[in-house]
């Protein structure tokens, strides 16, 4: 199937979103669900065709004389496309419950920008060359800006400033020149097997600088010190944080890096030249420090945000270790972390809507009121930590195994230390909720669990987190198709 079709459902639904508007909100959200389902089915079709070994590519639009926009399907993109389209449907179900339960304003604008961002994510997933990826990356930044500032109050606007400031200036200041550098050295920007830089004759130093430009230029990967936008973006409504800042936006960042490492540099080029050596300490630092910062945060969403930063650097590290095992682990971690983290965010939103609580210290005894939510939170937390029976186990295992291939024990010990920290900052939350007594002054509050739509969504993502442990087959099959060299 021509991957360009995947852009259509999210774009075509926009007139319906605006047309139905607030007045017919059931129809509006029904339209989004239909579009989301169609999009997911399309991605499934692409997935089947990829397994069958078909070449699926779109036409080209020449925005520059030598370089054009085009979409080409490859296994990594299929993983990301499937993930994002599936979670779009789930998140829409969830936002119906959340946005109504929370009486958010301007919901039509919210859903419109959301749809644009999803279309751009599809373009990023199936980008056939670096230029397309860059364009999609920028569209995602701009279209999610109104979502971050959605609430419109001063804090939201300030956060929006940080968000767009960091993401735009890194992409224009570092990502763009890196891309042009590649373009002038090799004369092409196409993603191709084994990487286009493998025989471009760049020196080790140049490769190291170029890789650095990519790692820091892709600010969405949130490697410290360019991580500030991510906690700032948490002022957005929870569904935004859930889909965009646990899946679409941040995963576009690491996905881009994985794709660049595999198809622009080529894993062998990086491994052989050692170009990534100076960057690995940055990711290790981010993994550890973000976990420690998460530990100190009492606000639930802020804690999850720092946890995301730490987990993203796992994937960046996996990409930079540049062994086939670690990069496969990185690709799988995109999925595993997405399901785990989106469950946690959904739970955080459900707690906010259902119990009007947003801090870890207020969680005491909450498990009795919202058993399903807190149980799902527990599963999501296990997924992030990487304990059985959740899918996170496999990806973490692969990354750790891949790091041993490089012959040092430093990176694996970083990963293990961070796992301990994960346990320390995530598990106390469900434990508190289930085992601590309800505080005196709250004993008479009568509130139930979250809205039904929210609970369905949480149930789905939590069960997928578990299912991926028992049935990782479809995912590993796809990952094994990635052409390494």
């Amino acid at each position: 199937m021509n991957p360009v079709w995947t852009l259509l459902p999210p774009l075509l639904v926009i007139p319906f979103i605006i047309g139905f508007g607030e007045a017919k909100r059931n129809l509006r959200e029904g339209a989004i669900l239909v579009a989301g389902t169609v999009l997911f089915i399309m991605n499934v079709v692409i997935w089947r065709a990829t397994l069958a070994g078909e070449l699926q590519a779109s036409g080209e639009i020449a925005i520059l004389s030598q370089f054009s926009l085009k979409l080409v399907v490859e296994p990594m993109g299929v993983v990301f496309g499937l993930l994002a389209s599936f979670l779009w449907v789930v998140t829409t179900v969830y936002s119906i419950g959340y946005m109504r339960g929370h009486n958010e304003q301007n919901q039509t604008r919210f859903y419109t920008c959301f749809a644009i961002a999803i279309a751009a994510v599809m373009a990023a997933a199936y980008a056939g060359n670096l230029l397309t990826l860059f364009v999609a990356y920028e569209v995602i930044t701009i279209s999610t800006f109104p979502l971050v500032t959605h609430a419109g109050h001063d804090a939201a606007v300030r956060a929006g400033k940080v968000y767009i400031g960091i993401l735009m200036s890194t992409s224009i200041g570092l990502f763009l020149p890196a891309m042009i550098w590649v373009a002038t050295t090799t004369g092409t920007l196409d993603f191709s097997e084994g990487g286009i830089l493998s025989d471009a004759g760049l020196s080790r130093f140049s490769l190291a600088v170029l890789l650095g430009l990519f790692v820091f230029g892709i600010g969405k990967a949130a490697v410290m010190p360019l991580h500030r936008w991510l906690p700032a973006a948490m002022v957005a409504p929870t569904p935004v944080s859930a889909l965009l800042h646990a899946v679409a936006v941040v995963k576009t960042g690491v996905f881009s890096l994985l794709k660049i490492v595999t198809y622009i540099f080529g894993v062998d080029t990086i491994a052989a030249s050692g170009a990534a050596e100076w960057l690995l300490p940055f990711t290790a630092f981010t993994v550890i420090v973000a976990s420690i910062v998460a530990f100190t945060k009492d606000n639930l969403k802020a804690r999850l945000a720092y946890s995301t930063i730490s987990q993203l650097s796992y994937i960046v590290m996996a990409a930079l270790l540049a062994t086939t095992m670690s990069v496969s682990g990185g690709v799988m971690h995109i999925v595993m972390h997405a399901f785990g983290k989106i469950t946690l965010f959904f739970c955080a939103g459900a707690i906010l809507v259902g119990a009007h609580k947003d801090s870890v210290s207020q969680m005491d005894g909450l498990g009795r009121r919202m058993p399903l939510t807190m149980a799902a939170f527990f599963i999501g937390a296990l997924g992030i930590i990487g304990l059985p029976p959740t899918g996170g186990t496999w990806s973490k295992l692969l990354i750790a195994g891949g790091s041993l291939d490089t012959g040092t024990w430093i990176w694996i010990s970083v990963l293990m230390l961070s796992t301990l920290l994960n346990i320390a900052y995530l598990l106390p939350i469900p434990l508190r909720a289930f085992f601590k007594p309800v505080p005196e002054h709250e004993a008479h509050d009568e509130h139930g669990d979250a809205p039904a739509a929210c609970r369905y969504a949480i149930a789905v993502t939590a069960s997928v987190t578990v299912l991926l442990f028992f049935f990782p087959g479809p995912l590993t099959d796809l990952v094994s198709l990635i052409p390494w060299r």
């Binding site: 701009i142 001063d154 767009i164 224009i172 200041g173 763009l176 042009i180």
Partner: protein, 494 residues
């Protein structure tokens, strides 16, 4: 069809006195607009004829060159003529309402007559093949520009106009002196003939003097840093329609002449090989976009901020020229078009703001989005184009320019361009931020709602915006035109 080159210049030139005779404010506007559209159509036809690389040489009055004056149209200048006449047409449509606000009704006919003369001069400069004729048309356009600027709504416009008059005259005299020396050294004024005779000239020193005078004179007219002093006040205080027109065209035409001179007349070996011009142009370019972008961040008036940004953008074009390579010139030419479109759109939207809000003081623009959504959306999209966000024209030019620099290994210059892009993000972002969100420190003008501007102002603005987006997505079209222009310029006259 053969007479098209003459028609291109004669049309606005003849219509200008006619507008004066008509005198009626509305009719003079209609006449000027129709004329401009016709001129645009003529440039379009001319561009079609030369697209394949052919050259039109039109001898005026049947007097063949090198004795007579000729119009010389090829791929390098047909596009520029189209840019000038096209922008003039769109901005004239836009000017109808905006000029009613700033210019007294009894003087409308003078304004539109001046506009047509300015158009004549600019197009004439572009398509003429005679060095002295360049000066003549330059004076026509300059004198009418002084007049147009002086029509500005407050009295500072007079000072701005006077300053431009002084500096513009200095520039024009330099150009005249340069042409005089060239004539003395070679005995010809025809540009094709000059290109042939300059290498064999018996007085190389006179050629050198001519070269220097012409370079400096044209750099003044093109507002290259640090010779940009006239531009800021002129753009700030002129009627906004004039600013939109000039920002898109006037400096671009001077830059075109500069390129024609460096590459076609003197030849690239002389200008860049012998005269080491890149060591003059590149520092000027870098200083221009770095300093001017930085200054733009601190401006409190939107028009002034955009004026500084214009000087910065001229720096980008100059950086492309200073490379003296095929790719560098392509970048310069394509940025001429792209920036022309973007800056005209920006000034048009600023004009809409001026029309309703009454001033362009940046702090008074808070929350403008809720009052004038169409204007603000146009400003935002054009602003993103200025920054160089993908899918806008700005991205096409920035990508081409940076890859041209990297191709030559001039990566420090490329880094500077990126730094200045980030600054552009800051100064445009600051305004967008204000327009979208409330100013934290107590907002001033929230009580009364502004209405959107008349449709006649919105339509040309959106047409230009749509063109900008179209060429941002299908950038290979403008790029192929620019590549043709660049190879024509580098190839010299056949």
């Amino acid at each position: 069809m053969d007479q098209l080159p003459a028609l291109q210049v004669m049309l606005p030139l003849v219509m200008a006195p006619l507008v004066v005779i008509v005198r009626h404010p509305k009719w003079s506007w209609a006449l000027a607009t129709i004329t401009s559209f016709l001129a645009c159509w003529v440039s379009w036809l001319l561009l079609q004829q030369v697209m394949d690389g052919s050259v039109i040489r039109y001898a005026i009055g049947g007097w063949e060159a090198p004795t007579g004056i000729e119009f010389y149209i090829d791929r390098a200048n047909a596009g520029v003529a189209l840019l000038v006449s096209g922008l003039s047409s769109l901005v004239l449509v836009y000017a109808y309402h905006s000029i009613q606000r700033t210019v007294d009704k009894s003087k409308h006919y003078l304004f539109y007559a001046g506009w047509l003369l300015c158009l004549t001069g600019l197009i004439g400069m572009v398509i003429t093949g005679d060095a002295f004729n360049v000066f003549v048309f330059l004076e026509i356009s300059s004198l009418s520009t002084y007049m147009l600027i002086a029509f500005g709504s407050d009295r500072r416009a007079l000072v701005a106009s006077y300053r431009y008059l002084v500096l513009g005259s200095v520039g024009a005299s330099f150009i005249l002196i340069g042409i005089g020396f060239l004539y003395a050294a070679t005995g010809t004024l025809n540009m094709v003939d000059l290109a042939v005779r300059i290498p064999d000239s018996e007085s190389p020193r006179a050629v050198l003097v001519a070269f220097s005078f012409l370079t400096v004179g044209l750099m003044i007219k093109a507002a290259v840093f640090p010779l940009h002093g006239w531009l800021l006040n002129a753009y700030h205080h002129a009627p906004i329609a004039v600013t939109a027109f000039l920002a898109g065209t006037a400096t671009k035409v001077s830059l075109y002449i500069l390129m024609r001179m460096f590459f076609s007349i003197f030849g690239d070996d002389y200008s860049f090989g012998l005269m080491l011009l890149n060591w003059v142009l590149l520092p000027a370019a870098i200083a221009s976009f770095l300093i001017m972008s930085l200054v733009a961040i601190y401006q409190t008036d939107l028009r002034r901020m955009l004026a500084y940004s214009s000087v910065a953008q001229i720096g980008y074009i100059l950086a492309g020229i200073s490379l003296a390579t095929q790719q560098g010139l392509t970048a310069a030419v394509v940025h001429m078009f792209n920036h022309g479109m973007v800056k005209a759109t920006l000034f048009m939207s600023v004009g809409c703001i001026l029309y309703r809000v009454g001033n362009t003081h940046i702090p008074s623009l808070d929350r403008l989005m809720s009052r004038m959504p169409f204007t603000v959306v146009a400003f935002i999209i054009a602003g993103l184009g200025l920054v160089g966000v993908p899918l806008t024209v700005g991205f096409v030019s920035k990508f081409t320019l940076i890859s041209a620099l990297l191709e030559q290994g001039w990566w420090p210059a490329a880094v500077m361009i990126l730094v200045s892009s980030v600054m552009a993000t800051a100064y445009i972002g600051r305004v967008i931020y204000l327009m979208l969100f409330r100013e934290a420190r107590g907002s001033t003008v929230t009580s009364h709602g502004y209405r959107e501007v008349p449709i006649l102002m919105l339509v040309p603005m959106y047409v230009l915006l749509a063109l900008g987006l179209y060429f941002g997505i299908f950038g290979s079209q403008t790029l192929s035109l620019a590549e043709g222009a660049a190879s024509t310029l580098l190839g010299g006259y056949q």
